[in-house]
């Protein structure tokens, strides 16, 4: 007997090596060919506290985290106390011999007998892997990936602990249903949303990254930094977020495609800079990894509470695009797209993600890099400007986009100005020039609108119910709709991966025709619903909202719908 799918929850304190067990398991599962969705739930502290690393693995493609636990791996007593009630029927529990388990079948392992105190997590990994039916060699290989960073002596100790765990499990077989073998070993990568964003930006020819550390955005920066030398990227940790965005703008002005990852509080400090990007028509991509606010809020949890803020951030009026990936693959593709969009429309582009997706490991097929091209800053249009002299950075054009020359790369003098300016970039107080420049800038919105990524639809064209979502909730919405269809109901899913600009022709009539429309959002006030109403008049009164810091799951949606 075997199972097609499993939900594994690893729990313990920060500092107990929880992530190692989790990432180790994830690595092995993906290498073995399973699909995977990881949810990391951690506290804003370095040691202690209660953290979890949840892996949903399946032989079939999956998109969202699921509730309920099939295998609970407890690194401490608290994990047992807190999560026992989530155990599904037939679930197993792996815990140290000393820990006391309630009703569920508990596989108490004498960790300390099997290894030294520093390798308990490796024992837990080994016992769990063995219960799952994973090949010991594969696990040893997976472990080796992490051990590379350790001393050979410690690596050996870890491998010994792993071997001891497997031996113990073999000698003490447990009544646990293992995972069915995957369909076929597939070529998949293991990657978080933030890592995929970093790769997507690199694939688009990212040349400068400026940032100030802020959870959950920091790992975008760290991923770029880890490969900056190989990829020829300049990275700098700025003194604050204001500096980060202004550095990015200075660099972008000078021709370096630029990225600034941050979270809500840091984004708030960049708002004046975003307005400057709008005025100077400087391309820049800001990754806004959302977490629950206001203010410091819950630094390590998830929310989709900054949509309207991102849409209106910056004084004055200027076009922008908002992209919101729905999966780790989408993080790669939209980061790539964002960089190109920013350059093409000489505008700020904001990539809205959140802690859940940022930290969520998934199994993804390797990205096809073959068709990709780097952003070409400035570009051929500015060729004529090489002549110098009369170059007009803000030449009035029918589409609002002016040929962009780069300073110092030709003889053109490139004058960029934060004040209202004439076509040549110089400060002006001519009020008819002002109105013309406003019109020119706003004309770029039409171009951005023409390129809008359409919502992704699933399910029947004429649906009784349409579940609408945006950004990171894509998987949950899709799976919830699928579950309802499986119950025989006519339910479609509509996912916005670009919340701005909106093109009602891409969604309005279909939504209007549906029996009912339900908006699913990770915030408390239904921001996307409000935005759709302001652009179309359509009022989506039924809303499934979550704002306790946890990601939306299919079950959460189904419960809210009473289904």
């Amino acid at each position: 007997m075997s199972r097609d799918e499993i939900n594994i929850l690893i729990g313990g304190e920060a500092g107990q090596g929880l992530a190692t067990v989790g990432q180790g398991l994830a690595t092995v599962l993906v290498r073995t060919g399973y699909h995977l969705v990881v949810t990391q739930d951690y506290q804003s502290r370095i040691r202690g506290g209660h953290n979890t690393f949840a892996l949903r693995a399946s032989v079939k493609p999956i998109q969202a985290p699921r509730e309920g636990v099939d295998l609970l791996v407890a690194l401490n007593q608290e994990t047992l106390t807190l999560h026992e009630k989530e155990l599904n029927p037939g679930a197993g529990v792996v815990a140290d011999a000393g820990l006391t388990c309630g009703l569920a079948p508990c596989y108490n392992v004498p960790y300390a007998q099997l290894s030294g105190p520093r390798y308990l997590n490796t024992v837990a990994l080994g016992v769990s892997s063995s219960l799952l039916g994973l090949d010991r060699e594969a696990v040893a290989d997976g472990l080796a990936k992490f051990l590379g960073k350790l001393s050979p002596e410690m690596a050996a100790k870890n491998q010994e602990a792993l071997a001891a765990a497997y031996a113990h499990a073999a000698a003490n077989p447990a009544p646990f249903t293992p995972l069915a073998p995957p369909a076929a070993a597939a070529d998949r990568l293991l990657m978080t949303g933030n890592e995929a964003i970093a790769l997507g930006a690199l694939a688009a020819g990212l040349k400068l990254l400026a940032f100030y550390p802020m959870t959950p955005a920091t790992s975008v920066a760290l991923t770029v930094i880890a490969h900056a030398r190989e990829m020829g990227v300049v990275t700098e940790q700025a003194e604050d977020e204001i500096s980060a965005i202004n550095m990015a703008l200075g660099a972008a002005y000078a021709g370096a495609p630029a990225l600034v990852p941050t979270s809500g509080g840091g984004f708030a400090l960049m708002v004046e800079g975003i307005s400057l990007a709008g005025m100077t028509e400087t391309p820049v991509v800001i990754v806004l990894a959302q977490r629950p606010g206001p203010a410091t809020g819950l630094p390590t949890r998830t929310e989709q509470g900054d949509l309207e803020f991102a849409l209106h951030a910056g004084h004055g009026e200027f076009p922008r695009a908002l992209l919101a990936p729905g999966s780790v693959e989408d993080c790669f593709h939209l980061a790539y797209h964002a960089m190109h969009l920013a350059e093409k429309h000489q505008s700020p582009v904001i990539l809205l993600t959140d802690q859940f997706l940022a930290d969520s490991y998934r199994a993804v097929a390797p990205f096809d890099l073959s068709g990709l091209a780097p952003v070409k800053a400035g570009g051929a249009e500015a060729g004529g400007a090489e002549a110098g002299g009369d170059y007009e950075r803000y030449a009035i054009t029918s589409k609002g986009i002016s040929p962009r020359a780069l300073p110092g790369l030709g003889r053109a003098l490139v004058v960029s100005d934060s004040d209202e300016h004439t076509a040549d970039g110089h400060i002006t107080e001519d009020l008819s020039a002002r109105a013309a420049m406003v019109d020119k800038r706003l004309r770029k919105l039409a171009g951005l609108t023409a390129e809008v990524l359409a919502p992704i639809w699933e399910g029947p064209e004429e649906a009784g119910t349409i579940l609408v979502g945006w950004g990171s909730t894509r998987g949950a919405v899709s799976e919830a709709a699928g579950a309802l269809r499986a119950q025989g109901r006519s339910v479609a899913a509509c996912h916005f991966r670009q919340p701005w600009p909106l093109r009602p022709d891409q969604f309005l009539s279909r939504l209007a025709r549906a029996g009912q429309v339900v908006m699913v959002e990770g915030n408390a006030t239904g921001q996307m619903a409000r935005l759709i109403r302001s652009e179309t008049g359509l009022h989506i009164s039924r809303q499934v909202l979550r704002y306790d810091g946890l990601p939306i799951t299919p079950e959460f949606i189904l419960r809210a719908l009473g289904a």
Binding site: N246, A254, A256, G273, L406, L409, L413, I427
Partner: protein, 283 residues
């Protein structure tokens, strides 16, 4: 070789008699002397009277936000190591709104030339106290006089051992031009704080007030003697030293980035083979 004419002559929005007029003259002289053509030069400024400067000569220009010239200049420097980058802003812009960036710029020793038009007042917003205003400086916003002790930018700069620290005076355009010309040859951050009388809003630190107090630093001063430079940097009041306080040998910030040895980032490609290898490690 560029000539003065290449840098043009433009109408300004400054008050007649403003110290800024001789600063722009000195800047142009220095640029010509340095053999730089306008397209090789980038002026980055914030917002203020001083910050309008880049609009008044022919050059590349990024006129950004109040207080944020230095970060923008840092970004431009890190994108293109070949541009000659000059930050032009006021005391409020550079040491007030932009104070944190000034500190960070000193720490980085970012290789730009920073010209601070220090009129000890907020000019463009009509005369409030600035970080360099004297204690007791009376304005409509400080009717009892400024309560805070003025910031000492030179001491801060010498303290962090940036590459070049000097003070100029708007009334001595030739001397100032010489300082700027030297600053333009420096690798690393070169700061010139320039005494710039504001005839409209600073009725205390006037041309005459400065003239009575300024003196040229003794040629015997060893600008590589840090203690001596620090001591000189403390002097401001009855006597105000002009000239080069300090020349340091710290590594210029952009020299930490090997990729910049290959020139402007805009000219560099993307190595998809390398990226593919990186991607392949995510298993």
């Amino acid at each position: 070789m560029a000539s003065l004419e290449d840098y043009g002559e433009f109408e300004t929005a400054w008050c007649p008699g403003c110290g800024n007029f001789s600063i722009i003259k000195a800047l142009k002289q220095a640029l010509v002397k340095s053999g730089l053509a306008p397209h090789q030069v980038l002026l980055v400024s914030g917002i203020g009277q001083a910050a309008k400067m880049p609009h008044y000569l022919r050059c590349n220009c990024f006129n950004g936000l109040h207080g944020r010239a230095l970060p923008a200049a840092t970004g431009a420097r890190l994108a293109n190591p070949e541009l000659k980058i000059i930050v032009e802003s006021g005391d409020g812009c550079s040491y007030g709104e932009g104070g944190n960036h000034f500190l960070a710029g000193l720490r980085r020793n970012i290789d730009v030339t920073m010209l601070v038009h220090d009129n000890q007042v907020y000019g463009l917003t009509k005369g409030q106290a600035s970080p360099t205003s004297g204690e007791g400086f009376v304005t409509k916003a400080q009717p009892q006089g400024a309560y805070s002790k003025p910031f000492n930018p030179l001491a801060a700069a010498v303290g962090q051992r940036i590459s070049f620290v000097a003070r100029g005076f708007a009334a001595e355009a030739d001397h100032l031009a010489g300082l700027i010309a030297e600053a333009l040859t420096v690798r690393g951050l070169a700061l010139i704080d320039i005494l710039q009388p504001c005839v409209s809003f600073n009725k205390v630190n006037t041309f005459a007030w400065y003239k009575e107090r300024v003196y040229h630093i003794d040629p015997a001063h060893d600008a590589s003697d840090w203690q001596a430079a620090m001591k000189l940097a403390q002097e401001f009041g009855e006597r105000i030293p002009l000239g080069v306080f300090w020349r340091g040998g710290r590594m210029a910030f952009s020299d930490h980035f090997p990729v910049l040895q290959a020139g402007p980032l805009a000219r560099q490609g993307t190595d998809y083979a390398a990226l593919n290898e990186i991607m392949r490690k995510f298993v």
